[in-house]
């Protein structure tokens, strides 16, 4: 049963806090006057009660909170994070965005996300450095070429700029790639998606946090959710299907809330279990690494599914790498040596010239993976408990649109069309989403 929120919608009360706007002129003015900028967000005390509690201070949680306040006037919102804002997947991903997905559902969804990313700097008044540098997915085998063509054909029907190009064109776009036919895995073709690119992931987190704060949303860092309180459910403590959520217990005290939204990654299953729900999710580490900087030579994002690697060069000159998720389920984020060895081997296969560049740092994040590689979004069998989880390796790309749609879902008490394919109930009805085939290395 949907939650009644009309009482908490206080559109008229939603007033923007007057924060100085970021601009080049402002920067100059403050430079001349030697005055400093105000805090990017407040550090308010934790209240006893909120209308909406969002668990997880990453892109998804913050975007949800922002759109609740900005689009729907629901401002009595708390975002809780057990560490600092952006400490999970939002700060650990390789910041690639694109919309050339395989299924119409995926395309429509990610295209809206890309649209929001495109105008985010201006919309949220913080430069998130969206770099529309193009995205190449390489094909090394006949069957990969066929899959690229499949994606291109679906994309064209959705008006997404995406096409299959040959080695000569690939070489023109990214001269550092070895496109000769004599390599072990010759590059036969690529899916080229000019609107894809990279973005400064931390800036996206801060932009949403700052904008949400300006609308009166409270951010609480180092506030860990220990339990979720429910009543009327089938399970122990009144939890489980049929229950109604009443609030959360945190490391800084208990909070009552009519709506609790699970926007976590890595711990989504554990948070859902606090409400008595079991999600079809396994958690795998996804590793990434970065090199020392060199002068910029790679102007585009390069992905190779067959070689399990994706690479881009930041404006700072570092190469950022990622691969597919580790094959074992674990919460350990220690990282492995094998990962760096295999990664380096595959990168050199593509770009032999970088063998003298040095790996500076490796890290890992946690990915919650569902059976069909698609997320779980919206209402659950526990009233007032919503999920925005199961984002696998591609949650960052979807952050803005997820927040926008989930906020709509909460405010209008109905599942928006754009996210209806991702309902938890699909695992009962069997309407799985078909991104599995395309998502093996989904960057």
């Amino acid at each position: 049963m949907p939650v009644r929120l009309s009482a908490v919608i206080r559109r008229s009360l939603a007033k923007r806090r007057l924060a100085p706007r970021y601009s080049g002129a402002g920067l100059l003015w403050r430079g001349v006057r030697n005055s400093s900028w105000p805090r990017v967000w407040r550090e308010p005390p934790l209240k006893k009660s909120y209308d909406v509690v969002v668990i997880g201070g990453g892109v998804h949680g913050l975007a949800t909170a922002y759109y609740l306040a900005a689009n729907h006037g629901i401002t009595d919102v708390a975002v809780l994070d057990k560490a600092y804002l952006g400490s999970g997947g939002s700060g650990r991903n390789t910041a690639i965005v694109r919309s050339n997905y395989l299924t119409p559902e995926g395309v429509a969804f990610y295209d809206r996300s890309l649209e929001l990313y495109n105008t985010m700097s201006a919309d949220l008044n913080l430069n998130v450095m969206f770099s529309e540098r193009g995205h190449l997915t390489l094909a090394h085998t006949d069957s990969a070429v066929r899959t690229m063509r499949w994606r291109a054909e679906v994309n064209k029907l959705q008006n997404i700029d995406s096409s299959v190009i040959g080695p000569a064109e690939i070489s023109r776009i990214a001269p550092s790639l070895d496109t000769s036919p004599n390599t072990r895995y010759p590059i036969l073709a690529a899916l080229y998606h000019p609107p894809g690119g990279t973005i400064r992931h931390d800036a996206v987190v801060w932009a949403y946090a700052r904008a949400a704060d300006a609308h009166g949303v409270d951010m609480h860092q180092k506030t860990e959710v220990i339990d979720i309180t429910c009543e009327g459910g089938e399970g122990p403590d009144g939890k489980g299907p049929g229950a109604k959520v009443t609030g959360v217990c945190t490391s800084k005290g208990d909070v009552s809330a009519r709506v609790v939204i699970n926007c976590t990654a890595g711990w989504a299953g554990l948070i859902a279990a606090m409400a008595g729900l079991k999600l079809p999710i396994t958690t795998h580490p996804l590793q990434a690494a970065v090199t020392e900087p060199v002068k910029v030579f790679l102007p585009t994002v390069v992905v190779s599914g067959s070689l399990h690697v994706y690479v881009s060069q930041t404006d700072r000159g570092e190469l950022v790498f990622g691969a597919s998720v580790d094959p074992f389920a674990t919460y350990d984020m220690g990282g492995t040596l094998d990962f760096t060895e295999e990664l380096a081997g595959h990168v050199l296969e593509l770009m032999p010239a970088v063998s003298e560049m040095r790996l500076l740092r490796q890290w890992a994040g946690l990915c919650d993976i569902t059976p069909d590689y698609s997320p779980v979004m919206g209402f659950t069998p526990v009233e007032g408990f919503l999920c925005d989880v199961g984002w696998g390796t591609y949650g960052f790309k979807a952050g803005p649109v997820s927040g926008e749609q989930l906020a709509k879902c909460v405010a209008e008490q109905a599942t928006p069309e754009l996210i209806s394919p991702f309902a938890l109930s699909r695992f009962d009805s069997g309407m799985l989403v078909g991104e599995k085939g395309a998502a093996a290395v989904g960057h």
Binding site: N127, E153, R358
Partner: protein, 951 residues
Amino acid sequence: MIRRLEPRSGEVIDRATPLKFTWNSKKHIGYAGDTIVSALLANNESVFSRSMKYHRRRGVLTADYWDPNTMVQVGTEPNVRGAHRLLEADMLVSAQNAWPSLDFDVKAANGLFGRFLTAGFYYKTFIKPQRLWPAYEKVLARFAPGGVVDLNTPHGYHDKRYCHPDVVVAGGGPAGLAAAISAAQAGMNVMLVEHNHHLGGHLRWGTDEDRAVADELEATARMAGVEILTDSTVTGRYDDNWIAVSQRNHPGVVERLIKARAKILVVAPGLIERPYVFAGNDLPGVMLSGAARRLINMYAVRPGNRGVVLTANADGDAAVVDLERAGVEIAAVLDARAGETISKASGSSRHLNSVTLLDGSTVKADLLVTAVGWTAPTSLLNMAGDRPCYSPKAARFFSTALPDNVIATGGIVGDGRLDELIAHGASSGELAAERAAAVKHRLRSTVTRAQTPEGPEPPMPADHRDGLCKAPHPELYRSDTHGMVDFSEDVGSKDLLSAAAEGFDSVELLKRFTTATMGPSQGKLETVNTVAVLGEARGESIEEVGTTVWRPPYAPISLGALAGRVFEPVRVSSLHEWHTANNMKPILAGQWIRPDHYGDPAAEVTNVRTNVGIIDVTPLGKLDLRGPDVPRLLNLLYTNEWSKLPVGRVRYGMMCAEDGVVADDGVTGRLGEDHYLMTTTSSGAGQIWQWAEMWLQTEHPDWQVHVTPVTTGYTSINIAGPRSRDLLTRLVDDVDLSPVAFEYMNVRSGTIAGVADCFMWRIGFTGELSFEIHVPAGFGLHVWEQLIEKGADLGVGPFGLEAQRIMRLEKGHFIVGQDTDGLTKAPTTGLTPLIRLDKADFAGKPELEWSLGAGAPELPVLVAIRPTDPQLVPDEACQILRKGTAEIVGRITSSRFSPTLGRSVCLGQVTPEFAAAGTEITVRLCDGSDTTATVMQHHAHFDPEGVRLRG
């Protein structure tokens, strides 16, 4: 001014071997044993780089590997540590991050705008108008620091080494050496890894007595049989002491990765000296005490003429003595232990001129040496799960808890006189030896699975070492002025304070916002100062602020070394040479290279349809299954029934994953009572083996089944065509091949062309009468050549993958992974009769039971499709649309021109609405135009009744 000093007792340069080299196109001469930077200093060069953001001139800071100011380009190699890399003859060295030259750098103009370019300034600007951002971005990207990659660099030669030492010691200072010696003397196999070129750590740049101790320790270690690696770094400690070592001085190799499974890791990296934060602390001429002492005592280079020393410890005091002995005039010594310090350093952008003290007085000097304390490089301890804790008394971080197989010693643990450090190292080595012995014992008792060791497991020897004290040290981080904190990233204390004031006030947020500690030294120099400034901003102690987690690698390692020799094996069949000699056009199919065709695939098709052809199908996955429980395994893996397969019969089966999606297919034959041969798709061979083993090992360990992959053990050949029986009969004597004796879907074993123990089965992917023979691989070529020779008059010819693909499409056989995808459930294939839901269980059964039940969503259907225009072959992956809309209702999964039918033929998936025979569908071609096609009654475009196959 001549900077090179007279010969000195501890110098590491060989004055008898001068080396010519080039610096920014200037010619210089150094000595063997010099680093690039010591040689440049001796040639009176004092500026080595421009800083990242403001392009300020930078001189020596630490004069070792971690020096952030001396990264240079050497030939095609970017980011070389100039203060660590040894000089070589004719080296081409140039400065990075400066244009047009190091001396005149246009981007130094940034320095003028420093007050506007505060940390994170770009987040606040270039926001509007948005359309200009891409142009701004292009300019910003030009400011990327670092060297240049030469895109023509070929793949270097790299190798890896694997070893299993009992003890790895990371760090060859006095404590590390002592640990290595005592562990080796206790009988352990010890590898000692030293980051620098020389053993002895700080003793190397100490007094003659210090060096004598280092030499003695080194000699003892060598006598004790310790394997010593210099210019090598333990870059990572992974689970279960999997140790990565980067060896930079292995002859003939740029860099080598050594992978060691160590029983015990001893961590003895010593301490890294910390810079002091004050205005002008990045001027050329300002350096740390370690830098001054290394330059004087090891490289015989005088770092300046008139110096000021700020000292808070014995190393600073020793620097004063060394400077005096090197002829540097000491203008002032400030003792931080007595509360003295400096306020700022001033000078031109090229060099330090004077030092201002707290009272405002200035001292003229061209050299300022600071010794304000240490950073404990706890990186390897972090990787072992330790979260270090700050001690205000000793003004540095210490480890809190380590696993049993990691032992720390030396400066990272505490302070003491040299003899105390050596004693601690020695007792750590003993402890390491005891624990390594315990680990050895455990490993021995677990290698034989059948026998459990007798008695309880011996406990891990406890740590009874005498600890080292924590000597008091003043907490000195920032003076009363603002200066540089992160030299590589050009982040100053002012940037940190303003970022913290803006709310980026936890150590992780601060790091991400300002990029402090994210540069090439990864915090080794700047982490503690960053934390200290943040503490200042928050009004908290360093202890309360905490620190960031140090991640691997400890020191950067080249991608070439990590990659090693790229090991991507190519698989070919035993017939490969024959194919190559006979005009094969190869195709890459997973790991395999196989013939796509031999010149004309259409002719190959026609020859098979009219005469007989042979194809090498060796890559077909083959699993030899033995044991009484094989039928149970088959029933579990396949969707159909396998309990009653008679000996001598083969059967087709389809496998599903647990979500009901088609995973693989193939035929399995029963060769004997308890003996089966399973074939899988070529691409699925490895996965299906794992899949079978997974079920046997995790769910049904009680089943008696042996699974042996024999894919390459047999050369597999398919003989197809109306004359295939005639051909095979000529080579086989001991099996009756007549249609009555050897029916379709049967298997026989016998002798082919004199080769015993061959299997032959009658199946037909091509739709023709055909025999698939599996010949012991060693005789594959012989049998193949016999087939060619004996069949000459029958018109036998080889055919490749392309011809096979055309024929299977004519016949309507689907290919898993091409005509099915990651969501194709078994019923879509049309083989619903093969899904036996009445079986007790099989992989995917619950999901399929539900999919086939009432109310389940309708699944797409695999159908044969014929384009209306018989000459038009739509590309595979073309989408099928609802007429007049962009709604996708299916796609073409396979398409070819059929030489047999003289028209195009396709397979495709469509929604049930469009699946009825005769339905006209709209196909969107890749060029954007639409065409029509018709859905067929049967999957087979050719011989739907299978008359030819069963003949």
